[in-house]
Symmetry: C2
Subunit: 412 residues, 2 copies
């Protein structure tokens, strides 16, 4: 299989799959349990059947298909990603992981025949949380942590109940008393980076050793609203002034702390938010990520203390609310090593790196040894019709995946 | 007239006038050319007639009433303020200037009879710009700078045309070819401070020597939107980070510059404004005021240069748009002196000060020697039902006004 053929096959399959949910307003909109979503899953089912894969849906709509092992039939090597998209999403996020898995398994079957262990591709039902206020519905059902009561009463923006949308597509809740599958021996997910590290460093493949943990905060500053003309600077308790000082402090400390720590103030809300009133109220969010939990704790404690000092100096009230605290998820060392060796053997231009974004892999890692492969995202853009990865890099990623799956499923 | 009687009369008249536009949702809503507005003007007309004042409306609905001079009948001393309110305004803003004028002229008439010069109270039609997108409609018609074409095509939030609302009340456009009145020899406006300087300094009366000029800007920062997890700190062009640094810089420089300069960032808008995206776009407003034009120019030029440096350092694009540039208005030195001397003679606890807010006086000053008297605003609050001034201070202000009007209208 030449590089050009592989690139061509990947692009063709991506475009074919991207047709389901093709949005007149741009990109792909393929939300969980929508018509487009169901069509995509059925089309994938058809593709896999045609290739002679064993295919089945689980209760909630995760699609599995692949080859049976000749020797270890109670051991399965799994690859794949999520089939759902955000609204007006790109051609690569999620899709690429499925398409890459399909082509890798097809190639392995055509080249080496049956594997020793079962080799499966999964098209997971949902990861983005874009239709219903629930994310990782697909992977959490595989590992058995999704609970019926978490989605029983949720609905989408049009008021359609999760449960009704699921039933309409022909799916149902997992039997929570049934045992979780024990055959999974590895999960390897290939995904676009959704960042610009690989691009900036001029590399084609990332071997992910860790998915960052994150803490999210809402920080509220209460000062005193005053007339912008009649209140001398010395009399003010300006919430925007205090918030700005806090944001500068956070960013400076994050830079000082150094990679891989990132700290983001993504959202600001000011009240009353008019040109001629000294603002009495400001609210901002803080998103802190790192691959080491201890670093997250240390940094956020440092920030908390520092913000308190600033608030005190400026005579404003401070309220810090931490509403997310997710641990980092290290990838499985053995599988990371397998991937890295494949990259070396195949002469790929790769780097070890962490993932700053969340992925199904962080859920699967609870159940089975897991690792990820990244390919570059042009300009770091994702969740956008402008999402793009060079065909050459798409192919390099699939090569790494093929080598890895071969190693895991075909070798002793 | 005892202090207690005066306080009592002021409060009674304020409450009587405040009845017109009493808002079930709180405070007073008495917008230009509304039913409540017309009722208030008619009620004031009635009050003045009953007191034996000569009363008339001008074409657009400014209400004038007062005493004819015995000697200089082509010279008029004018006092008063605006009758309109913001939505859910307080009992004092504007109203107090009218009520104080009425009681002062009534007292002077009862005590000294006819003045040498005409002595008039004006209840000006409009100052706030709260119903239609036009402010100072009352005073600008007195000085002749309001132009028909500026309001010909404007409407309120319900789509009611300015012109229709005016006609409905029985008023019409001023004849722009007619001469502006030449009899005005002085305008003295008494008003609540709408700031907290008098309160904090424990003083009852402010003698205003100047109304600040102001420049308003919208400052736009364009960086690059990026994923909050996958974009290392060093790769970011974070618009919020840059804007925060700029805001800190502005506020610090304003404090360094010192009173009476004030600089306010009242409004911030961030895009996309979500917790997990490094913001690519931030916009904020800047309101700068000072009593000296040269200081405003110097400060805003300093700021502009500094923001450009910050933008360059941070690799973001900067766009600074100045959309308001109003000159400071010095009050008339002779009248300021008269007021100050009255404060001294009457033993009032006063201070010389500037106005950080705009007032009808800045318009009248174009036509006639003008000055203002301030009384304290509790907590600096205005444009709010919680607006409050101690009755004692209300009376002290009226005493200063009585003395000033006596000096200007009754003495050679």
């Amino acid at each position: 299989m030449s590089m050009q053929e592989l690139s061509h096959d990947i692009m063709q399959l991506l475009e074919w799959l991207g047709y389901f949910g093709d949005d007149p307003e741009g990109g792909i909109t393929r939300l969980l349990y929508s018509k487009e979503w169901l069509e995509a899953q059925k089309a994938l089912e058809g593709w896999m059947k045609q290739e002679g894969f064993d295919v089945y849906f689980d209760e909630i709509g995760n699609l599995f298909g692949g080859l049976q092992g000749t020797k270890y039939q109670d051991e399965t090597i799994l690859t794949g990603s999520h089939v759902d998209t955000v609204r007006n999403g790109g051609l690569y996020d999620g899709q690429y992981g499925i398409v890459a898995g399909l082509l890798a398994v097809k190639y392995l079957k055509e080249t080496y025949g049956q594997p020793l262990r079962n080799l499966q591709v999964v098209s997971m039902a949902e990861e983005e949380g874009s239709r219903f206020p629930y994310a990782f519905w697909g992977s959490k059902n595989i590992v058995g942590t999704a609970k019926r009561e978490e989605v029983q009463n949720i609905a989408d923006f049009d008021g359609i109940a999760f449960v009704d949308a699921m039933r309409e597509c022909g799916f149902r809740f997992r039997d929570e008393s049934a045992e979780i599958r024990r055959d999974l021996k590895a999960f390897v997910e290939i995904h676009i980076e959704q960042g610009s590290v690989l691009e900036k460093e001029g590399q084609s493949v990332g071997v992910v050793h860790s998915i960052v943990g994150q803490r999210r905060f809402t920080i509220e500053v209460n000062g005193e609203a005053n007339h912008a003309g009649t209140t001398p600077m010395g009399y003010r308790k300006d919430a925007v002034q205090a918030a700005s000082a806090m944001i500068c402090d956070i960013i400076n400390r994050a830079k000082q702390h150094g990679d891989p720590l990132v700290a983001t103030v993504g959202k600001i809300e000011v009240k009353p938010n008019v040109v001629n009133v000294v603002p009495g109220h400001a609210l901002f969010t803080l998103d802190v990520r790192h691959t080491e939990k201890s670093e997250i704790i240390q940094f956020t404690e440092e920030i908390t203390a520092s913000l308190k000092r600033i608030a005190e100096d400026m005579g404003v009230e401070l309220n810090i609310d931490m509403w997310m605290d997710a641990d980092p998820v290290p990838m499985d060392g053995r599988i990371v090593e397998v991937i890295e060796r494949q990259c070396k053997e195949k002469g790929l231009n790769y780097r070890l790196m962490h993932s700053g974004a969340g992925h199904d892999s962080q859920i699967l890692a609870e159940l089975t040894p897991t690792a990820m492969i990244f390919v570059p995202s042009r300009d770091g853009i994702s969740h956008n019709p402008a999402e793009y990865t060079e065909p050459h890099d798409l192919a390099e990623g699939v090569k790494a995946l093929i080598g890895t799956l071969y190693k895991l499923a075909y070798q002793e």
